[in-house]
């Protein structure tokens, strides 16, 4: 069954200041709130391999006071606002939401910290400790917490995706110095490398005026040109076995896939949904329910700007041999490569995508984040074109993409075994 799909178009306007700062405005008069999102074109992939975890540590330091404003959070809270930020391998995103009446506070705060940070030694000292605790909480003190640290190093030999955003190791975070921090700021945190997105109960004229007032006189900075080591094509399967004090064995397999804007990305995304996107997905139904080889199983991918990894991961039922689990996964991959997926099966995952987008667009913050991210990828208008890209994928393309991705020479495997 195919029905007409008209995804709600997200309307926006776009302009650039004299110093190269890109500004996007999405007006929504139905909300009392306004969101200001600042995205910087720097992520973990842009780090020095001897100083990883820096982009993320730096994100923390952005809250330690800017050159004219000793505290970022307090004036925002006083204005009835809240904020958050995140760093990925590709980008760093800061966003806040506040009553629309107080939007100018957002411009004041964000422009000052784009101008310059306070660069406080004490702030660096404290945030180093905080990030060390974050590292422990998520990656050291949790069962299976170090899986991706390990898997990335065998899947990537050259490309910076070989390390995690949190950092390759704790010592890199612990050894960060203030001078490195300053260098990082002036290289990446500049108007010409940033995009400001304003969404909510605002007007385009008001945003133009405020953007010019607060950001207009910032020096542009040097445009950052990315020149990352290219990952050579993988020619043989990679493998690692780890033994750890975990109760159950787990299997992780990953394959290289296309970059974000390649048409093949959309096909691969739908493949992950067909294989592991819910309780009716193939891996779940066959391997968890029918064969009871796994107690849980997932299939997903990085969603990264550069060529990312598509992965299957799952915990084996106690007593199941790893070889049997591997064989079962192989059988499913062989099936999807040799037999075309059903028309309904493909339609299902397209419908899921449409529904997911509709639910995401409810949130003003999500709309602002998406517009910012797509603009960073090259064009905010992509937001309104994505659904069409998914909907045009054919059964033949799915089969072809599976045949290309799921080959042994493209595969890295981690056996994470219980040492009990």
């Amino acid at each position: 069954m195919v029905w007409l799909k008209f995804a709600a178009m997200i309307k926006f306007e776009r302009f650039t200041l004299g110093n190269g700062l890109r500004v996007i405005v999405h007006v929504d008069k139905s909300t009392p709130m306004a969101v200001l999102d600042v995205i910087y074109d720097v992520g973990a992939r842009d780090e020095n391999p001897e100083q990883t975890g820096f982009a993320h540590l730096f994100e923390h330091l952005m809250f330690g006071g800017s050159v004219h404003i000793p505290s970022y959070d307090e004036p925002l809270q006083m204005a009835g606002g809240e904020n958050n930020a995140y760093t990925t391998n590709d980008l760093t995103n800061y966003y806040l939401q506040l009553p629309a009446e107080n939007i100018e506070t957002a411009f004041w705060l964000e422009s000052d910290r784009m101008l310059s940070l306070a660069f406080d030694e004490n702030s660096l000292e404290v945030q180093r400790k905080v990030v060390v605790e974050e590292f422990k909480e998520h990656y050291i003190n949790k069962p299976y917490g170090d899986v991706w640290h390990k898997l990335r190093t065998i899947a990537y030999k050259k490309h910076p995706y070989r390390w995690m955003t949190i950092g390759k190791e704790l010592s890199h975070v612990e050894n960060a110095r203030l001078q490195d921090v300053k260098n990082f700021f002036f290289k990446h945190y500049t108007p010409v490398n940033a995009i400001v997105t304003v969404a909510g109960n605002v007007s385009v004229e008001e945003v133009r005026r405020l953007a010019q007032k607060w950001f207009g006189d910032l020096p542009p900075g040097q445009k950052y040109t990315r020149n990352l080591p290219k990952e050579p094509e993988q020619t043989a399967p990679a493998f690692l076995e780890v033994k750890a004090p975990v109760p159950l064995d787990a299997l992780y397999k990953c394959w290289h896939m296309s970059s974000r804007l390649d048409r093949r990305y959309y096909i691969a995304d739908l493949v992950t949904e067909i294989l592991g996107g819910g309780a009716s997905s193939r891996l779940y139904e066959r391997l968890v329910k029918e064969q009871q080889l796994f107690s849980n199983i997932h299939c997903s991918h990085f969603g990264s700007a550069d060529e990312g990894l598509l992965y299957i991961s799952g915990r084996l039922v106690k007593g199941v041999k790893m070889a049997d689990a591997e064989q079962a996964v192989s059988r499913e991959l062989a099936r999807i490569k040799t037999e075309p997926v059903g028309a309904d099966e493909l339609q299902k995952v397209k419908n899921k995508t449409e529904s997911m987008m509709a639910f995401e667009d409810i949130s003003l913050i999500n709309r602002a984040n998406s517009l910012a991210t797509y603009e960073l990828l090259g064009d905010a208008e992509l937001m309104n074109q994505e659904l069409q890209s998914y909907q045009s994928v054919t059964v033949e393309e799915v089969q072809k993409e599976c045949a290309a991705i799921f080959v042994d020479s493209n595969c890295s495997t981690l056996h994470y075994l219980s040492n009990n």
Binding site: A8, F15, T16, G18, T31, M33, I69, E74, P75, Q77, M78, A79, G80, G81, E82, Q97, L98, P99, E101, N102, T105, W108, S111, D112, V126, Q127, K129, V130, V132, E133, E134, K136, E137, N141, K142, P143, R208, Q212, W214, G216, P245, V246, P247, L248, G278, A279, V288, K289, S295, N296, R315, V317, K318, K348, K352, E354, S355, A358, F359, I362
Partner: protein, 434 residues
Amino acid sequence: MISTPSNAPALDRTIPPIIKDAVEFNLTLQPYQKRTLSNGAPLYYVNDGTEEVALVELVFNAGNCYETKNMTASATSHLLKNGTKNKSALEINEHFEYYGAHLNRSCRNEIASVTLHCLSKHLTVLLPVIKEILTESVFPERELDIFKQNSIQQLSVNLKKCDFVADRSIDQYLYGAQHPYGRVSTQADIQALTRKDVLDFYTDFYLNGSCQIFAAGKLPQDFEQILEVSLGDLRLHGQVPPVSYLTAPSTQKKSRVTNDASGVQGAIRIARPFPNRHHPDFKPAMVLNTLFGGFFGSRLMSNIREEKGYTYGIHSILENHLHESAWVISTEAGTDVCEATIAEVYKEMKILREELIDEEELLLVKNYMMGLTLGDLDGPFHVIARWKSLILNGLDDQFFYDYIQTVKTISAAQLQELSAKYLVPEDFFELVVI
């Protein structure tokens, strides 16, 4: 390209822009529409928004408090999707997923929900299958076996996590192991579940159960009619079955547990009993809680994270229970700074007991809370969630408006008095799990 006019005044970046204090906003809670279905089940809904999406949540009085054997309520809730007379688990999942819809179920202490998220245009094809699982679920033996096996395995992984263990333990201290809020399930409990347990529970609390329905979104014109047709003849009654709560807090106030000798962090829980929303202290305590540990600028965060760097995050909350509640401070901190963290928590309590908050900080907390609430009233899903919480707690929007009044008018002296009454270390349980 835009150029700056040459006669513009120089910008002074040290001066904040003028703000409107959110504490002066007049916040209103959008009313719901109500329809009582022909079987007596009340339907509360908010029809609004831009995206053509819908949420329908059926809230049954089928929570943990009604089970006579551990895990029965949550197993029944989970297995609702795992087979009816005419559809297998796969067919049920295929049906919802084909339409890009999500059918979730969750089991809490008093209530268990079945929640549908879908594009509004699919309500008519999805609701009948919800009716089917609420009237014809068969709980196949095989599905139960897989559920038991995988739950046991999931539990074994969770029990390695210091925060998971701490969360279970602190509730046991607060309420006692026989209380619905304090009871925990073991692997033996899961193993002991039978199909009969689940079928009986289903019969008593779903087939012959009581239910309230909450819905929101950009709904079709004939939404009430659609609900009536799909769900109006479910065999429901109006009575909420009685619950017995045997509150028996632990006599041991302080605990140190080593769950993992090689752990690099400890999960700290410092908690005391607290009355539920009906108590006059609850609303003022919501303000005090925000100041103390309820937002990024709180006393706890400012000290223990932003000054000392002991943790990635520390929070305090008033637990979201119906019958009675607790005030809980919670964090994961490096093992070598756990004791120091606890000392700082008590130090912050002392400051609140002994020193009046200054006017500026008080205004900041008020503005922050009002701004947050404003954002939290935005859109039909937020509005219905707030109404659901009020209704399930036996409250109406008077509670909301009184809460706003409290935020606007509470004084430094009142906050200090409340701290002196409740933020007393001797009244708290103290637990560290490494």
